[in-house]
Subunit: 234 residues, 2 copies
Amino acid sequence: MTQQPASRSRRERPAKPALSREWIISTTIDIMLSEGLDKATMRRVAQSLDTGPASLYVYIANTAELHSAVLDELIGTLIVSSSGSWSERLERLLDEYRELLFTYPGLAKSALAIRPSGPHSLIFIDSLLGLLLEGGMESARAAWAVDLLMLYVTANAAEHSVPAASDIEAPVDRESTWTTLSTAIGNADPAVAPRVAAHGPALLGGTPAQRWTWAIGTLIAGAAIVPVPPAAKA
Amino acid sequence: MTQQPASRSRRERPAKPALSREWIISTTIDIMLSEGLDKATMRRVAQSLDTGPASLYVYIANTAELHSAVLDELIGTLIVSSSGSWSERLERLLDEYRELLFTYPGLAKSALAIRPSGPHSLIFIDSLLGLLLEGGMESARAAWAVDLLMLYVTANAAEHSVPAASDIEAPVDRESTWTTLSTAIGNADPAVAPRVAAHGPALLGGTPAQRWTWAIGTLIAGAAIVPVPPAAKA
DNA sequence: ACCTGAACACCGTTCAAGT
DNA sequence: ACCTGAACACCGTTCAAGT
């Protein structure tokens, strides 16, 4: 339980080790890394463990729980940097989380469905909360802001990790999705969507990094000025 | 194309009408309404249309495109109210969108993956943009704010529409997910997650409606004060 | 040209039967 | 008690063959 974080690369596979929750989770992470979340199915994981899928159900309730456990494990690898202002450390931590979700394509989508809730996630939430409190944010607002920030990071990653499957056979699709949206905006009929037609470039402008920084800044600045309804406070 | 919005309830089924993109989409909506997005599969839709799944591929490229088309169709039913301040109208419009995504469980998750981009979505984006501009927001910021607002609404809905499948056999699961998170927060060890332990009630406090209103307000207020990098402007 | 039966290559989950 | 083979009930997508 409190051993070191699951090593994510073990080349030597000691001939059929005993099945266990930990072993199943780390095998799942291996598969996710090399083949994507889509391939990290009960069947595929079982195959990697030289057994049938039914065996996994002794340790894990269902696919959602497996993915949830994997996410918690990975969140355990994030660390709060110790230098810089609270806002720098906060942005860096969120950036690490974003990167994590980008590294494991498809995991973000799971994260939305399952709400990180394991022991490692609790520590992560604690860190975010601590940084906002350090920044002087009122406690009730900081709590809600943590939620909002995590939701944004997850949604942002989920949106950018679209393909997940079929990236071997149809790498075109990702591009064409983008193209569809931007040409739709570019070609917007001023009679039907006048503001989009007029402000098209602004809608599409900026680098992903610029938009990310702006969004995080916006969330924090907004949370700092919008009060939480008094009744909702502890 | 510019007929009335796809009627979502047609009890009389004129014996095997000709297959068409429109007919496929409206049938999919029917199924989604009555059985959830999970059941709106190519196979199930084909079955409702008295044909094999292969036939759908004449009109629709794949499942993602089908869901994308459905979402655009539904977004076409949203209307901007004509009374009230810009911010009241904005919040009402976003609320309609949120409600739409809640009504069709699972659709929100699709919306994240596919980025609403059809003709109806373009008009919706145009309305949001118009309201922010009316509120005096600078154009580049308003454009990015539209993105952020839509992302939040979608993510929020995706998070709350968890079960989607298996809601007949395991209605317990939704409850237990919540319970898991709140008990985890409630029982947080002060030694390992001191801030969570101390501010637990704040993390869990407020009604969904309060949190929703606060979040939307936070996003708009934040966008109004955080400037977009000059290089990113049109 | 338009449509589709049948097949291919997968899924998650359960449960009776084995050790 | 613990584990699992085999089955159940599904998927998306393709393609050769029919009309």
